[in-house]
Symmetry: none
Subunit: 134 residues, 4 copies
């Protein structure tokens, strides 16, 4: 399997939505395939509109950097090695909430979550990731 399917992406989004409800924070949730192209998206009622773009971009950034977006945060601070990275490749997100999705062996896509605190975004994204495996 090289790219996530819509049924799997929908399951990932639904698990993330459920977690977001549990913590009481409406979210924007995006799932992209292994090429960074959108597969499924949901904006929960009340979630901020800026996060439409941010959630999709978090998922895409994870694919483009082959890493969770939280891993980029220390690398892009003033004086750090990749300072200025965020404006490259069409605009990358450099704070947490984007995480790769794998089938155990290979990357099949990524999830991006945005609208809460970064900690909330990451925990909702992790709930989406958890659906896929052990």
């Amino acid at each position: 399997m090289s790219a996530i399917t819509l049924p799997v992406a929908t399951t990932v989004v639904e698990a993330a939505v459920e977690k977001a409800r549990e913590i009481g924070q409406p979210m924007n949730i995006a799932v992209v395939d292994d090429g960074g192209h959108l597969v499924a998206f949901a904006r929960m009622d009340g979630a901020i509109k800026a996060s439409v773009d941010i959630s999709i971009r978090k998922a895409r950034t994870s694919i483009l950097m082959n890493a969770p977006t939280s891993a980029l945060t220390p690398l892009v601070q003033p004086g750090a090695e990749l300072y200025g990275l965020e404006q490259l490749s069409g605009g990358l997100v450099i704070f947490g909430g984007g995480i790769l999705l794998t089938d155990g062996d290979h990357v099949i896509g990524a999830i991006g979550v945005s609208a809460g605190s970064v900690e909330q975004d990451v925990s909702v994204a992790e709930a989406g990731v958890a659906v896929l495996g052990s």
Copy 2:
């Protein structure tokens, strides 16, 4: 109700997906709110990637122009009144597949469908619209 909710948008997307399956054409399906901001999206397995952008933009164009995108096609041909319209307002789609969603009285959002022929796109978008009406 001034803007579509996620549960309603999800129902619209699902009805469109069902129609797309029925005609055997995988589609990208987007629903935006009354301000043109994405609420729900699904790319069916096998649907072309270019249509991620095109489907979202079709829905957004319907909101911005307050009309189905198919209404624009004759107006933007060489020699016609709005020739050149497509490159304005951030990029508008000038062929069919974007249709307004209403609650009977007011616009609450729009659906955009892309990946098949324009005729197929329109028929799948109409299946999404039909969910809301009587």
Copy 3:
């Protein structure tokens, strides 16, 4: 006088709004200065949102081309001399509704009107221009 003032621009917008009401077509109306920078803007209730960008761009195009936008229409058709012009200079509008504003001797700004038919847009823009003349 090299650039229109806010009081004059407001008078131009108000005259255009009055004309738009008279013909029963809600409009987006923009006035820019002699450098193409926005001075005053009004979107009448019910006017389409796409025309926010289009009206501002019509006014700006008039300044950049030193001509009414309607003068561009024949020049940009397939086979004509300036075919493709509309995508240059950050995006120009090539149909009517943008007209220069002068103090009799010099260009002081431009008005752009959008949301109706091109004929309606032009007539509303002309009502704005008429305020300045004798």
Copy 4:
């Protein structure tokens, strides 16, 4: 009421202009609807041209983030949680001068003010907001 009307937006702009005159700082003042689309705008004579874009973007940022733009300033500093936010969602403004407009219960739009110090921008925006409330 879900979106601000032109008469209300004009009243907001005029109150802001009056305040700007009072403090002797010409300003750019923008009002957008609840979807972030421009409704009314005025650039006072002598106000800097860069602030055409900045004022409109401040109002739009308030809508997209559902918050005053001043709330973003601490969150986007180097090392802070949302460092890099400003380049997302089409470009957000991360300093004060954008404030939400409500009808008491719901967001109906936002005002953005720019051309003075941030403190001046905020006080002029607040004068616009004050028109709506008690």
